[in-house]
Amino acid sequence: MRTLALSDDILLKVEKPARYIGNEVNSVMKDKDHVDIRFAMCFPDVYEIGMSHLGIQILYDMFNRYEDTWCERVYSPWPDLDSVMRERNIPLFALESQEPIKTFDFLGITIQYEMCYTNILQILDLSKIPFHACDRDWDCPIVIGGGPCAYNPEPIADFFDIFYIGEGETQYRPLLDLYKACKKEGCSRTEFLIRAAQLPGLYVPQFYEVTYREDNTIASFTPTVSGIPGTITKELVTDITDTTYPEKPVVPFIKCTQDRVVLEIQRGCIRGCRFCQAGQLYRPVRERDADSLKEYAIKMLDNTGYEEISLSSLSSSDYSRLEELVNFLIESCNEKKVNISLPSLRIDSFSLDVMEKVQDVKKSSLTFAPEAGSQRLRNVINKGLTEEVILEGATLAFAGGWNRVKLYFMLGLPTETDEDIRGIAELSDKIAMAYYDTVPKEKRNGRVQIVASTSFFVPKPFTPFQWAPQCTKEQFLEKAYTTKRAIMEQLNQKSIKYNWHEADASVMEGILARGDRRLCEPILRAYQKGCIFDAWGEYYRHDVWTETFAECGIDTSFYTTRQRGLDEIFPWDFIDCGVTKAFLKSEWKNALDERVTKNCKEQCNACGAARFGCGICTVPRITNL
């Protein structure tokens, strides 16, 4: 039997001890004496969040198919355990072997959102790995970061030995082989890193030097070691049907955010919503073959025993064989008494028909994400959804028995006026009206319930809005009040509920998202002052962050509210994600001109991703140059 890293008294004291004991169904145990490489895969947030992440399950499965590698998992200890581990000097451990992370060959950290940066430092700290990559020797694992935030790794550049830019399936095998060869040859850690930096998609920050202009923008970004590329091109899987996918995902004991089989039907998105980073980073869209998905669905349900299956993609309605796949699932799931959940489906007669079959209409709600209140602003952000389409979908649904609607909007989008904001209230009201027009009095099941939620817009790298100034906290709040007032003025205001997000956290996210290397210092300092779990409202300490930036002499408006010049060198410009800067610039201009750009299925806009020679780009279509 395995011995646990934590003693009984600790496990009986902390909340949800199951977070730390491993032993879950389908978790992989290997004999450590029969593997060459120990890989610790980390999601720097609490277990229930980390376990819900598909990317980790994919890589965990991929690594463990390698006979010479044992991949284990590690998540952030919740603050209750965090303080016990510090008090008693207990090193952070991996769930499977329960052995210290420090003894591993690699520590891979997936970086899904900016607000987890201090949690990365917590992981390093509890593992007793020096914060700065340059202070590490062969006694420490190679710390490698990946995920969407690796597309602007600069604010956390000092803390990583390597960043992996792009999809993990392609370069890990060559990296592991290089590692084994270097160990055999007795190379220094630096020598290994120099050779790793020459593999495609891998970025080793310590071998690059940044210089700044007087106005604090970047003057140059250059490699300091010869033979290392100045530009890192993202890695991607060209044929995603023919790649590894976990047939036996790990099944947690405790309820996690994602408590079901997740079937990834496609990667990327054909739509180019201009605020959306995922829509650009993962281009071109690549579909998995529906026949192999059907096989996976059955195998995964059989191997996990889950009672629910969900389709995962950025925009499922765009998947070309969706109807066929969904009908197959409905049939086989009905037999197996399995529920189907279908997030990110466009509301139309097909999806309503499906939803009626798979869920209880009375209990479920419709979701629309118009993102902006007026058609003008929706053109600016290139969100194809029109008022007509929304009202049509809602009317259909109301006739079918639904009476709850959720609407998602953003506040603070470029060019937004009070008129656009009032559009949020007006659209909500029109939907309520559609309900009362559609459903006769005697058939109404109480009032229609409309919940409008707004989040604050944070400009992200590699989007057409990367040049846009972000709003200040005061502007954000003013916009939320305007929305609130406008909703109160509506005829059906009693049917409309309005929620808005915290403004402080959005400002913070904005600083980190478009930050540069000079942010490494304040991030470390904020961590040392006790900031962790910043993504969790109850732990986020805005005052500490504000104070820390001031101490480091950093004017945060440089990162947020500043209007960036069209020719400015951005901290992330050395990364080539496929989509060219010229394309993003033309999209920024189209946005300001309120001009809509067609999606990849309608027409190719020559964004740059075609050079990968895969997915939608290889389908013959009109090209707009």
């Binding site: 039997m1 395995r2 646990l4 009984d8 008294d9 496990l11 009986l12 001890p17 199951a18 004991i21 491993g22 032993n23 879950e24 169904v25 099944v251 004991f253 405790i254 309820k255 349900l301 059989d302 191997n303 996990t304 025993g305 889950y306 009672e307 197996k336 008494k337 529920n339 869920q359 209880d360």
Partner: protein, 236 residues
């Protein structure tokens, strides 16, 4: 057809709570391909019920759940199929077919037997066979227990069916009422022994294993405790 399934729970499974064990079994039964019955309605769920929840930190050799199946082959087939799906620390011990009129597992529970061992460094020097016999010989054992509404004081004696200490093994055996009406936590009984001997009690000292869960095969007046699986029969 109703089955009563007996299982054990050891090792790291001590840290998996009752609700999560239920969720675990729901999935294991699907993986094993057992032809379990489902409720009707929009979100069908498995017909399954558990006998008595086991507290976090406790081990057990005598847990029970009842499930309803549409078809079955044999007890050994069933046990093997489900065991093939178990993780370390949990084993299926028996599966018995229940008569149609059997009360469900939870309603059937009358008592449970526990072995209490002591953690290294926390062994109570004062505990001997004689001390425990003296304790159990009392006509009344007044204890206070914490409830949601505050403290209540009551006589535990009628709910404590047996209590003995093994000097050689240094373990205590308890049989206590475990019915929904009079459920007694084993640690409460152990605390009463400590209190009577003016010893300082620490919950953490105890390593508790539930050895068996019983039903009453006798009458109200003359009870006869038998394992919960007693009313069932092996099949196939």
């Amino acid at each position: 057809m109703k089955l009563r399934v007996k299982f054990s729970k050891h090792g790291v499974l001590r840290f998996i709570g009752h609700l999560d064990v239920m969720r675990y079994f729901q999935k294991a039964i699907r993986r094993a391909g057992i032809d379990i019955a489902y409720t009707t309605g929009f979100s069908p769920h498995q017909v399954m019920s558990f006998a008595a929840p086991l507290g976090l930190g406790l081990e057990s050799n005598g847990e029970y759940m009842d499930i309803e199946v549409n078809s079955l082959t044999s007890s050994p087939d069933f046990i093997n199929a489900l065991n093939a799906q178990m993780v370390d620390g949990i084993r299926i011990l028996e599966a018995r077919l229940l008569p149609d009129n059997a009360k469900n597992a939870m309603a059937s529970v009358a008592a449970a037997r526990y072995t209490v061992a002591f953690r290294k460094g926390y062994e109570p020097v004062f505990l001997t066979e004689a001390v425990v016999d003296d304790f159990f010989g009392q006509s009344e054992i007044i204890v206070t227990k914490q409830t949601k509404k505050g403290e209540t004081t009551f006589d535990m004696k009628p709910f404590l069916f047996a209590c003995a200490f093994d000097d050689a093994q240094n373990t205590l055996t308890l049989i206590v009422d475990a019915s929904s009406a009079g459920n007694i936590k084993p640690s409460l009984a152990v605390k009463a022994i400590y209190d009577r001997n003016h010893a300082e009690f620490n919950d953490y000292a105890l390593l508790i294993t539930r050895e068996e869960t019983y039903l009453n095969a006798g009458t109200q007046e003359v009870p006869r405790l038998e394992p919960l699986g007693f009313i069932g029969s092996d099949f196939g």
